[in-house]
């Protein structure tokens, strides 16, 4: 599969605080990559480097010629005084014709709510609208920042199914930052476990049994407790390869 985006030895700092260190990443056409990691692990920063919104302090970002990206932000910074309908949201950043608006709305099931104000939508509807906006012009890669935040479990599962379907329909790559470890994993081709650097990566079953992943998230319902333990126990001074990164 052709490579769409390559990050080489990317380092990001906010002031003196390192957020990402030495990250190498390749995203190929058509694959679903999920980035997981605890709060403050640099997930959103990594996604912003991938979109090109954030320039790394060190390292480089290469992308395929003419690469089209669709980005679903974690949250909108809309003031309540800003009026915008669902249909108008699809016109950001540029006006699109009605045929294209109808196409992306059909794919995401938002055709019925074109005239609704964005501020009045439920969390699930808003995410589908932002997803519809992102797939305008058939992007080569979709980037989503915690797209299921605030959704209940059935809502999140439905949203992941929608993304998997879209990938099949449009043959685009999907890069997703997520909290919902167990739901995400089954839909992903590759999981990247991040904590300032890439701790481990691989197919979902490989990653979920990796000691680094277990150290970060534990297993099953003990996840929250394990996450807490991680803050004190998990050491990051190692830099070894477990042979499952591919």
């Amino acid at each position: 599969m052709p490579v769409l985006i390559t990050l080489q030895d990317v380092t990001v700092q906010y002031g003196a605080i390192p957020v990402l260190t030495g990250v190498n990443l390749k995203v190929a056409k058509g694959e679903i990559v999920t980035i997981v990691g605890p709060n403050g692990s640099g997930k959103s920063s990594l996604l912003r480097v991938l979109t090109g919104a954030l320039k790394p302090k060190k390292g480089s970002r290469l992308h395929a010629v003419g690469l089209k990206m669709g980005y679903v932000p974690q949250k909108l910074s809309l003031d309540p005084t800003f009026p915008i309908t669902v249909r108008r949201m699809l016109d950001i950043p540029k006006r699109i014709d009605h045929a294209e608006a109808a196409r992306v709305s059909d794919l995401t099931g938002i055709s019925q709510i074109w005239d609704s104000q964005i501020a009045n939508l439920s969390g699930g509807q808003l995410q589908r609208v932002m997803l519809a906006r992102a797939i305008v012009g058939a992007p080569d890669v979709l980037l989503l920042d915690e797209p299921t935040q605030g959704l209940d479990q059935p809502g999140a599962a439905a949203f992941y199914q929608l993304i998997a379907d879209l990938r099949d329909t449009m043959d685009c790559a999907v890069i997703m930052v997520s909290h919902d470890l167990h739901v995400v994993m089954s839909a992903s081709d590759r999981v990247i476990c991040l904590n300032g650097h890439i701790c481990c990566e691989g197919t979902p079953d490989v990653v979920s049994t990796a000691p680094e992943y277990r150290a970060l998230f534990g297993t099953g319902t003990k996840g929250a407790l394990a996450l807490y333990r991680h803050d004190h126990d998990h050491s990051h001074d190692h830099d070894h390869d477990h042979g499952h990164a591919h």
Binding site: R48, G52, Y71, I84
Partner: protein, 260 residues
């Protein structure tokens, strides 16, 4: 036949309202109300400086406002409006400007600086106001898609190559120009009102940002004409009367839930 000074006042008021309506929408969408306040207060120093050095009041005010907009811009990160520091700056410049006006500005009246004198505008003033208004509106229209994208979400705008900091800076400089030309007409204290009230009134009637901008300009224009009428027939001070009419329209907008 309407007196010529009323015609000039109406044209100047309409020109100001046209551009403040649109810019005012961005002011409230992007929570820059205090920013506009600080800028208009600082412009008083511009009046004093132009009088002292004998330069055009428009250039003096827009120049000072532009120079001040840069550090203000640096201090104001989005969604964190730095209310305290902006409040300190706004009122400090108000004081310094009034001192400078008293020392340098022979012939300047406090009321004229604070509230403007729309009834005393000349044909030259009308031309300057309209040139600036149309220039700024044209500029905003060209950058409209970028400005709206940056207003909806910084990260989203950045992901499609919009430089959000640059857009915000250009918006601030447009504001400086408008404050510069509007000062003589509506005065330093009323400029913020001209920016905020029509935009706030337009919110209830608008479904999209474009409609809100158009309705805001329309509300401002009704305010300008209505205020002048009140000034002519009831002998109210013209600048405050314009704001009072806009404020009345804002109240009406909140009473109904009419959607256009």
């Amino acid at each position: 036949m309407v007196s010529e000074f009323i015609l000039r006042a109406a044209l100047a008021g309409i020109g100001v309202a046209l551009v403040t309506g649109v810019l005012g929408c961005f002011i409230i969408w992007r929570r820059m109300v205090y920013f506009g306040d600080a800028l208009s207060h600082a412009s008083i120093l511009g009046v004093a400086v132009s009088t002292a050095f004998g330069v055009s009041i428009y250039l003096g005010v827009a120049g000072v406002a532009g120079v001040i907009a840069l550090p203000l811009f640096a201090l104001t990160t989005r969604w964190q409006s730095m209310d305290t520091i902006l409040g300190v700056i706004a009122h400090s410049f108000l004081a310094i400007g009034l001192i400078a006006a008293s020392v340098w500005g022979t012939g300047l009246t406090l009321e004229g600086i604070l509230f403007g004198d729309v009834l005393a505008v000349t044909w030259t003033d009308v031309v300057v106001v309209w040139a600036a208004a149309l220039g700024v509106l044209g500029f905003v229209a060209v950058r409209w898609n970028n400005l709206i994208a940056a207003t909806v979400c910084d990260d989203l705008a950045a992901s499609v190559g919009v430089r959000t900091k640059v857009e915000q800076l250009l918006l601030s400089l447009c504001l400086a120009v408008v404050v510069g030309v509007a000062l003589k007409t509506v005065g330093a204290l009323l400029i913020t009102a001209f920016l905020i009230i029509p935009a706030a009134a337009a919110r209830s009637f608008a479904q999209t940002p474009e409609r809100m901008a158009v309705i805001a300009s329309f509300v401002g224009i009704i305010g300008a004409i209505g205020g002048l009428a009140a000034s002519y027939y009831l002998d109210w001070p013209a600048g405050p009367a314009m704001i009072a009419v806009s404020a009345g329209l804002f109240l009406v907008s909140r009473l109904g839930t009419v959607r256009i």
